[in-house]
């Protein structure tokens, strides 16, 4: 029960989708010409959000990961159509006022975001309350914005004419929506700055974050936390594969030849195929900054084991590889491969042919930092020549922690990180 209340509070206040996260701005700005329209849109969304959260949570063990998006959309679209028919039959005035925005609820990012971020991972009851909380928060926000616009634009409240002053008609039109949005943003900034001065974490304000890390490409604190588990899994997986395949020097190349870099789901298929495993780890590595380091951690893991188990024979061969990896790993590895591939991977900045889909700039902005980190790692590896199994794992953990730290510090200085999200 506490959890349910927490969900309500979370949706209404802490992570209010409109007022705090600034999600779903499109319907917000379009329909809030009056308080009644805002209220109607909010309540319609509330019903759809709660019901779809409930059903998706009930079906979360039935819906496979790979087809979750179409399944969500079918469920959400069904509820929206049901709501549309019910409104048309029993509340025709509201139906007329909301017009095109009813069908557009289907693609409202709040609903899909909650399905993906919460309902798909949590039990039914909290999911219902999550939907209720988010819906109420959305309704309150929309009603307030509508009230403000109606008051300024028509000098009336819920259709009741006050006649106190000559209305500023533009507030009821599209430009007025942006004026109100600007006002809202100014208030948010004020709160954010005041909160930060007092040393609170205000990063969720204006973050646009639906906690939907699966389909979000941004790099943030939440994302790192949610990926921590997967990261550990990846490291283990990569280590296992390395042990099994350590005699084939070209496993490092395998990931570069893979094509589906944009999907981040490969860790799922660990049991099925050893090769995919490595591919998975590296794909993630290319897809996001966080995982990039995972990939590198894997590489150093590979070195570790090679150095441990065949120290003498590989000593000489190891050196150049290590040096290569101090640079940009995906680039430097290519010389081992066929000639035509070399050209393609020469400069990662020009890989715009769909090989690297997600936030190229972020990745490559980071390269310098990564290089430095890699240097540190390699130094460490070389110093400790024959670590035992336990030491090795400890070291890995330590390394990972260090990287996380560095990564987060780097993120804070990265100007692209937050600004790109609005």
């Amino acid at each position: 029960m506490n959890k349910s209340l927490e969900r309500l509070y979370n949706g209404i206040v802490k992570e209010n989708p409109t007022l705090v996260l600034m999600l779903g701005m499109c319907p917000t700005l379009a329909v809030t010409t009056s308080a009644f329209n805002g209220l109607g849109m909010g309540l319609t969304t509330l019903v759809v959000l709660t019901l779809s959260n409930m059903i998706i949570s009930m079906l979360r063990k039935v819906i496979p990961n790979k087809i979750r998006i179409p399944a969500f959309i079918v469920i959400i679209a069904s509820f929206v159509t049901i709501m549309q028919l019910i409104l048309q039959a029993y509340m025709p005035d509201l139906y007329k006022a909301l017009g095109i925005y009813i069908p557009l609820i289907v693609v409202n990012c709040i609903i899909l975001g909650r399905a993906e971020a919460y309902a798909y991972k949590n039990p039914v009851l909290p999911s219902i309350f999550d939907g209720l909380g988010m819906g109420i928060g959305f309704t309150i926000a929309l009603t307030l914005i509508g009230l403000l616009r109606e008051f300024l634009g028509a000098c009336s409240v819920f259709g009741y004419e006050l006649g106190w002053f000559a209305p500023v008609g533009i507030f009821r039109m599209a430009p007025g929506a942006f004026f109100v949005l600007a006002l809202l943003t100014a208030i948010q900034n004020k709160v954010k700055i005041a909160g930060e001065k007092r040393g609170r974490d205000m990063s969720h304000i204006q973050s646009g974050c639906a906690k939907d890390c699966m389909s979000c490409n941004m790099i943030c604190k939440e994302r790192k936390e949610s990926f921590k588990d997967e990261t550990e899994k990846d490291i283990k997986a990569a280590a296992v594969v390395t042990e099994e395949k350590k005699k084939e020097p070209d496993i490092i190349e395998t990931p570069i030849e893979s094509e589906n870099i944009e999907t981040g789901e490969e860790p799922e298929s660990i049991e099925t195929n050893e090769k995919t495993e490595t591919i998975g780890a590296f794909e993630n590595g290319e897809a996001t900054e966080t995982d990039n380091e995972v990939a590198e951690a894997d590489i150093s893991g590979i070195e570790d084991e090679k150095a441990t188990e065949e120290p003498v024979a590989n000593e000489a061969a190891e050196e150049p590889v290590a040096n290569e990896e101090t640079g940009e790993p995906p680039v430097k590895e290519t010389p081992q491969k066929a000639g035509d591939e070399e050209v393609e991977f020469e400069d990662p900045d020009f890989e715009s042919d769909g090989k690297i889909m997600i936030s190229d700039d972020d990745d490559f902005l980071d390269m310098e930092g990564l290089e430095k980190m890699m240097e540190d790692d390699v130094d460490l590896d070389e110093k400790e020549t024959k670590p035992s199994e336990t030491e090795k794992s400890k070291k890995k953990n330590r390394k990972k922690k260090r990287k996380d730290k560095k990564d987060s510090s780097h993120n804070n200085t990265n100007p692209e990180g937050k600004e790109g999200e609005l």
Partner: protein, 198 residues
């Protein structure tokens, strides 16, 4: 391959269930929706022709209205309004103008046999809130009870019977309504014998 088939089946099941649920809701709401639409048009008819009881569909003499010079306006429907005893009192036109600012404007207008415009009733409008949407308040009353050949609109204050005050300086909605009403009146005088009908 096995996973592929499994995923497809799961999605299929979800979609089929959703389809059945939708079908059920549709079946249970469609009568109400149809009833509402019918009521809405009936009340619109009564609004523009309060003393008539029977409304019969009539055939339109032409369906090419663009050549009449009223812009992209057409008469959707023509009804003969009569009282209980079958006396013809006048006509109701359902007019659609595509010249609105935010989509089609659809309204009903009732014309008595002596050429008096009983009034209009807006059926469908999606103009700008605070501007075109004021048509209900600003334009509608102005048309009621006037007996003129054609209307014109003005921004400087109506002086004669055939002038209509525009909603604001932006006249798109006003023009759409005026043209629509004028087409109805034009059709009335051209094809229905005009004011001398009786």
């Amino acid at each position: 391959m096995k996973e592929f088939v499994k995923n497809t089946l799961i999605l299929l099941v979800i979609t089929v269930i959703a389809g059945f649920v939708l079908g059920y809701v549709y079946e249970n709401t469609k009568d109400t929706i149809a009833l509402r639409a019918e009521e809405e048009t009936k009340s619109a008819y009564r609004e523009v022709f309060a003393d008539a009881q029977v409304f019969d569909d009539a055939l339109l003499a032409t369906d090419n209205f663009t050549s009449e010079g009223y812009g992209d306006v057409k008469i959707d429907k023509l009804l003969i309004a009569s009282d209980n005893t079958g006396n013809n009192l006048g006509y109701i036109f359902i007019i659609t103008s595509k010249e609105g600012y935010g989509g089609d404007i659809r309204f009903a207008m009732g014309v008595r046999n002596d050429g008096t415009l009983n009034g209009i009733s807006i059926l469908e409008i999606s103009e700008t809130a605070g501007l075109g949407m004021e048509a209900e308040k600003v334009l509608k009353p102005q048309f009621a009870g006037r007996n003129v050949e054609q209307f014109t609109f003005t921004k400087t204050g109506a002086e004669t019977d055939d002038q209509i005050d525009a909603i604001s300086g932006a006249t798109i909605t006003t023009r759409a309504f005026t043209n629509g009403v004028n087409l109805g009146l034009h059709y009335f005088s051209k094809y229905l014998g005009g004011a001398n009908h009786e």
